[in-house]
Amino acid sequence: MKKLYGFMFAAAAAFALTVSSASAQTPAPTESAADLREIEYGKDIFKTKANCQFCHKWDGSGDQGYGGNALPLRTTELTLEQFVETVKCGRIGTGMPYHDRFAYNDKRCYDTTREELGNDTPPIANEYLQPREIAAVAKYVFARQKGRGVKGSYEDCLDFWGKESKQCEQFK
C-alpha cells in the first residue's frame, strides 16, 4: 500500500557502520539546562517538522522504504560538522533531501549547483530548516542516538513517544 513517498529515502553513502555499547536516554551529567532544552527542541524537529524519523526510524536505527535504505544514525562515523552539512545539503545522488532552502541556488553545498547536478540533485525536504534548527537536530542525534547501540531501548522509546501509546510495548 502506498502512494509513493519518493522523497524521504535513504541517506547518505557516508554513513558508515560502527557499533557502540547501548545505554538509556539518561542525560549525560555534563548536559546543562540549555543543552537539554536544545536537545528537546532537536527531538521535536526530528520527529515532526523535518520528519527524519519517516526514513531513519524514530530511534535513528535506519530503515528501508521507498527509495532504498536510510542508513543508521546511531552508528554514523560522521563528525558533527559533517552531519550538519548532510542535513543542510542532502546527499548527491541519493534520497537524502536538503533542508537549506538555498542549498543549490549557489555553490554553498559541495561547491555545485542544481544546474550542474541535474537529476542527481538531492530531493527537496518537505520543510526547510534554519541553521538553528539544523544545529538542534544534529545535537539531538549526537546526544540521544549516536553511540548508544544499534537500536533504541524501551526507555528511549518512552522518551520519544511518551507513555500514553502502545508504541513502546514491543520494546519491553
Binding site: M1, K3, G6, W58, N126, S165, Q167
Partner: protein, 593 residues
C-alpha cells in the same frame, strides 16, 4: 479476532436493540443499497452504487451551466494532528450524504455529521465522534499517510473504522459510539484505511500493511453482534490452491503482503464482491519470494456471505514493481456479440486497462492507458498475462532492464512509477456516454533492490513485526504529471483525454449533467465537460485536494461537495517547487448554482 469493547454499561442492551430494531423509512436497508441509483439526491454508498460507478443521475448542474457554480459553504474539520511517522493527518474520504446530512471522516478516524442544507447559519457540525486513535502506534506502521476513506450506512447507524484497527457502530442521529470491535492488529503491522463495505448485515473491511510483512485479508463482521463472520486471507495457506506459488522456503507466505485497502465493488446478481489485492512483500526483491505469489497484485471474486474465493486473476505475477491492484473494479453490464455480459473492469496500477468476465474471471481484453509503459510490451490477447510472463520461471524478468533482480539491483528508468498509472484514486463511469474515466499519473522512476533479510520466525532471521519489509525502493525520474482519460469500458480504447500539470490524487465523479469532477494537488477544484474534457469550471480552494467529490440535493437543490486538505507528496514537490510552501488544511467544501 473480533473482541467487542463496550463503551458504556448499556452496551449489551444497545446491541440487542440494534439487532431487533426494524428499518425505518430513512434507514439504510439492502433494498435501498441495491437501488442507490434511484435516489440521486443522496450519496449512500461509498462508490455511489455497489458497482462502483461514482455516477449521479442529478443534472441540475450541467456542462453548459457549470460556469455559474458558486462556493455554497465550507466547514472546518480536524484531524491534522501528528502521529507515528506523519506530521499530520490526511483527507482521502468519500462523504456519504443522506437526507441533507453529510457524514465525513478525517484521517485519524473522527466522523463528522455535517448539516449540508443551503441556508444553515452558524456551525454546521451536528456531531463529531472521535475514536481516540492511538496515533503513534498506528501511524508508525502506516506506509503512506494517515488515511480514512469514509463510512458506511446500516439501518439507523454509521459504520466506521480507525487506522489502529478498530471497527465502530455509531448512532446516526447522535454520534454515540455503540460498540467497537478490534479487527486489525497494528502490533503485527496491520492497519485499516478503507471505507467498510456493508452488504446485508455484515461490514467487510481489509488490512493495509503490505510494506510491513503482514499476510493480508478481507474480513466480515456481523453488525448485529459485532463478531467476526468470516476472514479470508489473500495469501493461500498450506493445502489451499495457490499456496505453491510461494517458494523460497521459510515463511515467505506468512509475510508476503497482499494487503487490502480499498472498498470492493459488489454485483448482487452474481453475489460476488470484487476485491483488489496489494503487492507481494518484500516489494522490490522478487528473488526473495520466487513463484507467482498469489493473490498479490490481483483481483479476487468472493462470496460476501462466507468469504470463499470463486475466482482470481493476477495482473502482475511475481510483481517486482509494487503494482498492487487494490483499487476499484467497476462492474458494467453490456452486450458483447449480442450476448448480455457482466464485465468487471480495472484501470490497473501497472498501466493497463482490463476487462474480465465478472462471473468467471476470464480475460476479455486489455489495453495500455498510461502515456508511457516500459516494463512490458503488452498483454497476451488470450490470457491477459504480460507478454514477457514465463510460467516456467520462478522469478519474472519482464523487460529485464526495468526489473530489479539481485543480479542487477538497479533498473533503468521504468514507467509508470511505483505509485502506478493509477493508485487508489477511483475511476468514474458514465453509462449514458459509455465511457470509463481514469484519473491517471504519468511518470517514471528507477528501482533499486536491497536484499531482504529474513524474519525472526525463520532460521537466522532478524526482521520483527512492525519493521518495514520492502527490499529496496524507487526514486522518481523527472516530473510526475497527470491526466483524465475516458476509455471504452470494454476495450480500453481511448475516447477522450486531457492533461494536467500534476498527478491526480483525488479520483473522479461523473454526472448525468455530463460533468466529470475532480480536485488536484494544487488545490484546484475542476469540472470538465464529459464529452470533451474541456474545463467548464475551476475554483482554487487554497490547499491540496486528495479526496473524491460527491453530489447530492438538499431541499431540491444540487450540490457538489468534497473534502479538501492533503499532504503535499514530496514525490510531486521534487519537480514542482511552486507547491513547496502550500500548507495543508482540513475542510469540507460544497458548490451549487
Amino acid at each position: 479476532m473480533n473482541h467487542i469493547k463496550t463503551t458504556g454499561m448499556l452496551a449489551g442492551m444497545l446491541l440487542a436493540a440494534t439487532a431487533l430494531s426494524p428499518a425505518m423509512a430513512a434507514d439504510m436497508t439492502m433494498e435501498r443499497a441495491l437501488k442507490a441509483d434511484s435516489e440521486p439526491g443522496n450519496w449512500i454508498l461509498h462508490a455511489q452504487n455497489y458497482e462502483g460507478h461514482r455516477f449521479s443521475r442529478l443534472k441540475e448542474i450541467t456542462a453548459e451551466n457549470a460556469k455559474n457554480l458558486k462556493l455554497a459553504y465550507t466547514v472546518a474539520l480536524g484531524g491534522y494532528q501528528s502521529g507515528g511517522r506523519y506530521p499530520h493527518g490526511n483527507l482521502e474520504g468519500t462523504p456519504l450524504v443522506d437526507d441533507g446530512i453529510a457524514y465525513v471522516t478525517d484521517g485519524w478516524g473522527s466522523v463528522y455529521a455535517v448539516d449540508a442544507s443551503a441556508n444553515k447559519r452558524g456551525s454546521r457540525v451536528i456531531w463529531k465522534m472521535d475514536p481516540g486513535t492511538d496515533r503513534a502506534w498506528a501511524g508508525d506502521v502506516a506506509c503512506c499517510g494517515v488515511n480514512n476513506r469514509g463510512v458506511a450506512l446500516w439501518k439507523d447507524k454509521i459504520v466506521s473504522i480507525a487506522l489502529d484497527g478498530r471497527l465502530f457502530l455509531i448512532e446516526k442521529k447522535t454520534g454515540e459510539m455503540l460498540w467497537e470491535a478490534k479487527v486489525a492488529e497494528p502490533a503485527v503491522g496491520e492497519t485499516i484505511t478503507l471505507a467498510p463495505l456493508v452488504i446485508r448485515d455484515v461490514a467487510i473491511t481489509g488490512s493495509a500493511g503490505g510494506e510491513f510483512g503482514i499476510r493480508g485479508w478481507y474480513d466480515a463482521v456481523d453488525l448485529n453482534t459485532g463478531k467476526q463472520k468470516w476472514r479470508t486471507f489473500m495469501i493461500p495457506g498450506p493445502g489451499e490452491p495457490g499456496h505453491e506459488s510461494w517458494k523460497g522456503g521459510g515463511n515467505r507466505w506468512k509475510h508476503g503482503g497482499a494487503s487490502a485497502w480499498v472498498t470492493p465493488t459488489f454485483d448482487s446478481t452474481l453475489n460476488l464482491i470484487y476485491a483488489g489485492v496489494g503487492n507481494p512483500g518484500p516489494d522490490w526483491d522478487p528473488d526473495y519470494r520466487p513463484g507467482d505469489n498469489k493473490w498479490a497484485s490481483s483481483v479476487v471474486a468472493m462470496n460476501p456471505d462466507d468469504g470463499k474465493i470463486k475466482w482470481g486473476f493476477q495482473y502482475t505475477p511475481n510483481d517486482p514493481y509494487d503494482f498492487d491492484e487494490i483499487s476499484e473494479h467497476p462492474i458494467v453490464r453490456m452486450k458483447i456479440n449480442g450476448q448480455d455480459r457482466t464485465v468487471m473492469t480495472h484501470a490497473a496500477r501497472n498501466g493497463f486497462y482490463y476487462s474480465l468476465d465478472a462471473a468467471n474471471g476470464s480475460f476479455i481484453t486489455g489495453k495500455q492507458y498510461v502515456d508511457k509503459l516500459t516494463w512490458s510490451t503488452g498483454l497476451d490477447p488470450k490470457t491477459g498475462m504480460p507478454l514477457e510472463y514465463d510460467p516456467k520461471k520462478d522469478v519474472q524478468d519482464y523487460i529485464a532492464s526495468m526489473t530489479p533482480r539481485r543480479s542487477r539491483p538497479t533498473t533503468d528508468v521504468k514507467c509508470p512509477t511505483t505509485s502506478g498509472g493509477k493508485n487508489w484514486q477511483p475511476t468514474a463511469f458514465n453509462p449514458d456516454l459509455n465511457i470509463m474515466y481514469i484519473p491517471s499519473a504519468e511518470g517514471c522512476n528507477k528501482l533499486t533492490l536491497v536484499v531482504q533479510k529474513d524474519w525472526e520466525d525463520e532460521p537466522g532471521g532478524t526482521v520483527k513485526p512492525r519493521d518495514r519489509f520492502t527490499g529496496g525502493g524507487g526514486v522518481n525520474q523527472g516530473r510526475i504529471e497527470g491526466s483524465v482519460k475516458g476509455v471504452d469500458p470494454l476495450t480500453g480504447e481511448m475516447k477522450v483525454k486531457t492533461a494536467y500539470r500534476y498527478p491526480n490524487w483525488a479520483g473522479l465523479m461523473a454526472t448525468a449533467g455530463n460533468l466529470i469532477v475532480t480536485g488536484w494537488p494544487d488545490g484546484e477544484f475542476v469540472a470538465y465537460d464529459a464529452k470533451t474534457l474541456q474545463e467548464v469550471y475551476t475554483y482554487s480552494t487554497g490547499c491540496g485536494i486528495n479526496a473524491p467529490p460527491v453530489t447530492y440535493t438538499v431541499a431540491g437543490k444540487q450540490y457538489i461537495g468534497l473534502l479538501v486538505g492533503s499532504i503535499q507528496k514530496a514525490a510531486i514537490l521534487q519537480d514542482s517547487p511552486e507547491l513547496k510552501n502550500s500548507a495543508t488544511c482540513s475542510m469540507f467544501y460544497a458548490w451549487a448554482l
